[in-house]
């Protein structure tokens, strides 16, 4: 897969979809292409995050540790991004990503990503917009969940 295909791929991810192609290309260029075989961890829950991964091909499970063992909470595949929260704020990884097939990903390092944001504020605004969208969505879901809970209590 070439740089220009990666750019295509990045554009399909909501977080990056609003960015100008030239910036996406730079982002792709400064990122590493990495390969995993089935059953490998991209990262581990609790680790400090240093990169986000855009999955170019293949599939992986999102696993969360529970007292009874690891619980699969979701599955990710081509065109999705994982680990992006950890590169925006210094929180430990909230889940483990384990590949189920062989997988190819673009590894976006935290430093490079933040540097890009600092250099191109329009990019930061775009990211902020996406995050705000997500927040409002989460908030409305929370409100709904709360009201449901209240109804149950009542």
């Amino acid at each position: 897969m070439l740089l220009k295909d990666e750019v295509e791929m990045l554009r399909r991810i909501t977080l990056f979809s609003g960015l100008p192609p030239a910036k996406l290309k730079l982002l792709a260029f400064t990122s590493d292409r990495v390969m995993y075989s089935a059953g490998e961890d991209l990262f581990h829950q609790g680790d400090i995050g240093d990169a986000a991964y855009v999955i170019l091909s293949g599939k992986a499970d999102v696993l969360v540790s529970t007292p009874t063992g690891q619980l699969k909470v979701a599955e990710v595949e081509q065109n999705s991004i994982v680990g992006e929260i950890a590169i925006l704020c210094n929180t430990p990884r909230t889940a483990t990503i384990k590949t189920t097939t062989s997988l190819e990903a673009l590894r976006i390092r935290k430093d490079d990503f933040l540097k890009l944001l600092a250099d191109f504020p329009e990019m930061a605004v775009e990211i902020m917009r996406v995050l705000a969208d997500r927040l409002s969505q989460t908030t409305s879901e929370l409100t709904e969940a709360r009201s449901r809970a209240q109804r149950v209590e009542a």
């Binding site: 897969m1 070439l2 292409r33 990495v34 390969m35 540097k115």
Partner: protein, 903 residues
């Protein structure tokens, strides 16, 4: 130190000074004779005195004198010579005297020079010796650069002066006096005139020069301060830039330079005024001679030969006189400098030289307890860091000191390590004060490590073994020229009051590390490196270094053999895609196009660049292989991509580190070049431009850059062109490329690259970590790991150890203390640069290490993590400089634990 320089010089060079004075006195005889000779020549053979009749002869050189009691003694009755014969004979005598005078001068100057250099060596050594004995509080106050300026520059003139200290006044005074007496003999009045002028010069000039001395002293002080400030700027550059105070520093330096300028300019003005006056006085005398002497001659009261001799002799008077005045000036000048330096180095209390006396024998073990008795330690300002602390460590006991920063534990540890001296109270071992015991005992039986590290410039290994170099332990046997040189060294060292310890001797005290000799020392080194977790760091440094493959032939061939082992290992672990190996017949996608084309590495970058630009070889080969046009197109593509990607970025952007094709400065140039070349076929492009484009290809790696430029066909062509490059390389490019050969060590590549013989794939996130672990493992299993570590120990740590990380430096420092077998280990938060987990790990390792092999040394450890205190026998807690709490740690007996578990 002796406060007066002249006395210092006299004390140390008395015999030599007397000898040279004697020689100078002897040299006066031919000197005086050479004055009288011109008169004899002019009056005798030239003007005809004694040759009044034709054919008259004179006796040449009769040697006869009369002695009381014995009467006339006639040693040589002389030779009869005619007028011309006499002229020739006298002229030859004159020439002879010139040579004799010259030889005397040569001998005297050489002798004086040697004398001066010896004294300079003595002073410098004595000053450094004093630095080694300075009390700790003084060392905190002085600036290192000022000290080194004093030792290096400020004492230098003293060496030059030494030779002249007594000889110069004697010689010049003698010369001046000779000349004056000679003039007086020739003509009383002319002599008086000369004497009066000399007296005026001798009185006025030195007076005027006194001001020069004052200025000179100021110049010395300001220059020394300047050098101190400059070194402060260099050391503190991070702070200066970080706080944007560079302009404050500029102002400070400018002000200092301004002051120095003013002082120096004053100095010049005054100096030249003095010079003017001096010259004037010197020139006035001949005026008087010509006018008055000429008048006498006209009147017939003085013959012309006498006048010529007087004027000739006077020519020799201002010279010595001026030099004599200069000498006096120099004397006062160096005296001032000397006083200044001596003041700086006269510090009390200096450590007694006896304490630092060299001792070859192994010191006795310390059987008494190490104790602080009513100890108070104050900082420079007088604030008390610890107050009235009494504390004892028995041999074999382990004590943890807690209390954190400001508690006082660190100050106590520093005092135990002799870095801080007691303000009151004592530190004793048994019942002897540690400051009175020789360092040969204390410095070896007590080891101290803190987080303040000093690593000396040199190899890592030298730094590690630094604490074992107490005394020269072997007698080196020299032969032939070297033996003669050694004898000379010893003699000169003795004459200059330097010690004669042989630096070539083996200084490493193997016994002090628990080893028997160089052979089993490495085992000890390995053990301490493992303890402080430095082994991996060192092997990483080693594998990245290049070695001399000729010198280490056996090792190099073992490395070459490892290549196959690595392949097998990777296959076994199903990691074959981790490394793409170099194969002569196939393209290596993880290597650059350049590497693939040359199938080797460029050993001489500068020559390579030049050859690429101007040598026809590359172009011919590329053309023949059908790559010229392809590469041009590829280069254009790369340039387009790079310019597009990086155009908007500021030049110092970190992303440029990922740009391997060109530097950030070159981007605008390439942008312009692209504008010019776009849409033009290659044959219309100038040679120079084409090369600038083509060279971009050489750095291209498809999986890394992903521009999609390499096709299978192209890769095939590149592989085919390899042979041309290796076989057809013209003689003038020989040695520029080192070719990859599966069965040969590549001297210009690192050890790791030689083991891999390939490139690590980009696809694995932790590829290089994995490979490094595998390679390390292979080294271990093949028994090569220790050899690799030995290369790592050769790593140059740089000035102050700056090429190591802070953590590595602290580990090294701790290892340096641990490798010595001591009775007491004082450890003062040695690993602050490391994270807590590693610190704990190393602390536990150190405990296990020190209590291994039936050793039971005492340990005092200032802990930054109190949780570790369970390791110790006793915990001592400090607060506000006082020992507030002390408890014995209950160590649960292990046996009972097991019993409980078993039951």
């Amino acid at each position: 130190m002796e406060p007066r320089l002249s006395r210092y010089i006299w004390t140390h060079t008395r015999k030599a000074q007397l000898w040279i004075l004697l020689i100078v006195a002897l040299s006066m005889i031919p000197y005086f004779m050479s004055f009288d000779l011109p008169k004899q020549i002019v009056n005798g053979p030239i003007q005809g005195q004694g040759f009044e009749t034709p054919g008259a002869t004179q006796l040449f050189m009769p040697i006869a004198f009369s002695l009381p009691l014995i009467g006339e003694v006639n040693l040589f009755s002389g030779i009869e010579l005619g007028r011309q014969g006499t002229l020739l004979a006298l002229s030859l005598v004159f020439l002879f005297l010139v040579i004799i005078n010259g030889l005397f001068k040569f001998y005297i100057n050489t002798y004086k020079g040697r004398l001066g250099e010896r004294l300079l060596r003595r002073i410098r050594f004595e000053l450094v010796d004093r630095v080694l004995r300075f009390p700790p509080h003084h060392l905190k106050r002085v600036k290192p650069a000022e000290i080194s300026t004093m030792i290096k520059d400020e004492v230098e003139p003293m060496g030059g002066f030494t030779g002249d200290a007594f000889v110069q006044p004697a010689l010049l005074g003698g010369q001046a006096l000779t000349a004056l007496i000679f003039i007086l003999i020739q003509s009383f009045w002319l002599g008086i005139i000369a004497a009066v002028i000399v007296a005026v010069q001798a009185v006025i000039i030195p007076r005027m020069r006194r001001r020069l001395l004052v200025l000179g002293r100021e110049r010395q002080l300001t220059a020394r301060e300047l050098s101190g400030r400059v070194s402060e700027i260099v050391d503190g550059i991070g702070t200066i830039r970080g706080h944007d105070t560079s302009n404050y520093e500029r102002a400070d330096i400018a002000a200092r330079l301004g002051r120095i300028f003013k002082i120096r300019y004053d100095l010049y003005q005054w100096k030249f005024l003095v010079k003017f006056l001096n010259n004037f006085l010197a020139q006035v005398t001949p005026f008087l001679f010509y006018s008055i002497g000429g008048y006498f001659a006209l009147q017939g009261r003085l013959d012309i030969g006498q006048l010529v001799a007087v004027i000739g002799a006077y020519k020799d008077l201002p010279g010595p006189l001026k030099e004599l005045i200069d000498w006096d000036q120099a004397r006062q000048d160096v005296q001032v400098k000397y006083t200044q330096v001596v003041e700086q180095f006269s510090v009390e209390p200096l450590i007694d030289p006896k304490v630092q006396e060299i001792s070859v024998a192994a010191p006795p073990t310390l059987s008494g307890a190490l104790a602080a008795v009513n100890l108070t330690i104050a900082d420079d300002g007088g604030a008390k860091l610890i107050e009235h602390v009494s504390f004892q460590v028995r041999p074999g006991e382990t004590v943890a000191i807690t209390g954190g920063t400001g508690g006082g534990g660190e100050a106590l540890a520093e005092a135990l390590g002799r870095l801080a001296w007691p303000a009151s109270g004592r530190i004793v071992v048994g019942d002897e004060d540690i400051h009175e015991l020789p360092e040969a005992v204390i410095g070896r039986r007590i080891s101290y490590a803190s987080s303040e590290v000093y690593a000396f410039q040199g190899s890592l290994g030298d730094n590690l073994l630094y604490g074992l170099k107490h005394a020269p332990l072997t007698e080196v046997v020299y032969e032939g020229d070297k033996a003669a040189h050694r004898r000379w060294e010893l003699l000169e060292a003795k004459l200059a009051g330097n010690p004669s310890f042989d630096l070539n001797s083996d200084w490493i005290d193997y016994g002090a590390a628990g080893a028997t000799g160089p052979k089993d020392l490495f085992g000890k080194i390995r053990a301490v490196l493992d303890v402080v977790l430095l082994t991996n760091d060192i092997s990483a440094l080693a594998v990245r270094s290049t070695i001399n493959a000729v010198e280490h032939e056996a090792f190099a061939s073992e490395i070459v053999e490892m290549r196959a082992a690595l392949r097998r290992r990777l296959e076994a672990e199903k990691l074959s895609d981790l490394v793409v190996f170099f194969e002569p017949g196939s393209y290596n996608v993880e290597a650059t196009v350049g590497e693939n084309l040359l199938f080797g590495t460029v050993t001489d970058r500068a020559r390579w660049e030049l050859a690429l630009e101007s040598h026809p070889f590359f172009k011919t080969v590329l053309k023949r292989a059908g790559l010229h046009e392809t590469f041009y197109g590829m280069g254009l593509e790369i340039a387009e991509n790079v310019v597009e990607l990086f155009r908007d970025l500021p030049p110092d952007h970190p992303f440029f580190q990922q740009l391997t094709f060109m530097t950030s400065e070159e981007i605008p140039a390439y942008e312009a070049l692209l504008q010019r070349l776009r849409g033009r076929p290659l044959d219309e492009v100038s040679e120079e431009d084409a090369i600038r484009i083509i060279r971009l290809c050489f750095g291209y790696i498809e999986p890394r850059h992903r521009f999609g430029l390499l096709t299978d066909d192209l890769m095939q062509k590149i592989v085919e062109a390899r042979r041309e490059f290796s076989d057809g390389l013209p003689a003038d490019l020989a040695g520029i490329i080192e070719h990859y050969q599966p069965n040969r060590y590549m001297a210009s590549s690192s050890i790791l690259d030689n083991v891999l013989f390939g490139r690590i794939g980009h696809k694995h996130t932790d590829g290089s970590d994995k490979i490094r672990a595998i390679v390390r493992d292979l080294f271990e299993s093949l028994g090569l790991y220790n050899k690799v570590l030995a290369f790592g120990l050769d790593f140059d740590v740089g000035a102050g150890g700056k090429r190591l990380t802070a953590g590595q430096r602290q580990k090294l420092n701790l290892a340096r203390a641990l490798i010595r077998l001591s009775d007491f280990y004082i450890v003062n938060q040695p690993l602050l640069a490391l994270d807590q987990r590693t610190q704990d790990q190393i602390t536990r390792n150190v405990f296990a290490f020190l209590h291994d092999e039936n050793r039971n040394p005492a340990i005092v450890w200032v802990l930054s993590n109190p949780a570790l205190s369970e390791l110790f026998d006793r915990v001592v807690h400090f607060e506000n400089g006082r020992l507030v709490h002390e408890e014995t740690v209950e160590t649960p007996s292990k046996d009972s634990d097991y019993k409980e578990l078993a039951s």
